[in-house]
């Protein structure tokens, strides 16, 4: 089993993010944490806002920030992560995310707003994923 790989595609609404042969994928579904290894039963799983961890063929890990996603495991064993927003941790610009976060917090200070609160959650997630991808421990 150690040598089996499965193909994964990460697709966001704006673009095709990533595709590779991997050893496993770990994510937070709306009903709890899930791990998918090669040979998994076909499934359709709604994902929570959070980080998806991919265990690569060389045993390194890649993190993907996922917002409003669905994980699809096909009958042929291929895995598709579909999400509104999906970004590789290594590709997130921490400085820009910080600036966006500060901007959102400043606007939130003038009053509660559901849309802004959800954008704030999104920026926090991106920052977390970006920091753990670059090896810097997360601030919170």
């Amino acid at each position: 089993m150690a040598d089996t790989l499965m193909h994964v595609e990460v697709v966001s609404a704006e673009s095709h993010v990533f595709s590779a042969d991997i050893r496993g994928i770990f994510a937070r579904g709306v009903e709890g944490e899930i791990g998918i290894l090669p040979g998994h039963q076909p499934a359709v799983i709604a994902l929570d806002i959070g980080a998806v961890t991919l265990q690569m063929a060389d045993d390194t890990r890649a993190l993907v920030a996922v917002h409003r996603g669905v994980l699809f495991v096909g009958a042929d064993g291929r895995v598709i992560v579909l999400a509104d927003i999906a970004e590789l941790g290594t590709e997130i610009d921490v400085e820009r995310a910080e600036r966006r976060k500060a901007e959102i917090e400043r606007r939130l200070a003038s009053g509660p707003d559901a849309a802004l609160a959800s954008s704030l959650a999104k920026q926090n997630l991106r920052l977390d994923v970006a920091r753990s991808a670059s090896g810097v421990p997360s601030a919170n």
Binding site: V11, A13, S15, A43
Partner: protein, 293 residues
Amino acid sequence: MAGSGQIRQLKRRIRSVQSTQKITRAMEMIAASRIMRAQGRVRAARPYAEQIHEIIKGLAVSNEVREHPLLQQREQQRVAVIVNTSDRGLAGAYNANVLKVAERTIREEEGAGRQVDLYIVGRKGAGYFAYRGRRAEKLWEGISDTPTIDAAGEIAETVMTRYAAQELDRVWLVYTDFKSSLTQSPVRMELLPVKPEEFGGGQEIAPEFIFEPSQEELLERLIPRYVEAKVFHSLLESSASEHAARQRAMKSATDNAKEVAGNLSRIMNAARQEQITTEISEIVGGAEALGSR
């Protein structure tokens, strides 16, 4: 001397036309490079929409999708029209064409006795309807140039919430379809209600599939994503069309400037020649007057 004054004026006009030409040429080239990028984004967004559609179709085989609030057909009393225009002008007939379709849709709906709520993307559309005294329910600026999924989500969310709350009974989406760099045509699409036929013909998902949460809840989550992807697609198509229309408009402006500058310099040359001829005949005339004495 009247001649040299005229020449000076012509020179100034030629210079002004030429600097305009430089600007339009730059705009033409910028637009051309943006078309490529916008087309790339349309292509890049396709896999997501297709996959979502496939999964919904698969789920719809064994589930009743008709019950979903976004698929419910009602007697239509109140409709919304979303119109995609650009923020900036100088794009030829791009905005006029799409606004014509929007205007026609509004007239048809109002002619049938329905109330129309207007949603506008782009400053140009806002200006058009404000001038005609029509109030927009909501206006989005600054997204039509390079649309993001966030913006598409916000637009979709606005109308979906009102549709589910039965405040709207139909939603039209008016945008410009990018067929090629030469042809873009304004189109309208019925965004809501989603037709059940759109989810027909799917392959049944095999019974061994695990669903988390249940199939109904998954559909509940995915159908709004599908609508959102459609809105996003319309924004991307419109943006590619805008750049293509601008490129063409700027190309003809550049060509025209070249022609105007050419004509003006011909007139200027003629005037200069005339001036020289006059001067020579004056000198000759003067010399003859002296010689005959």
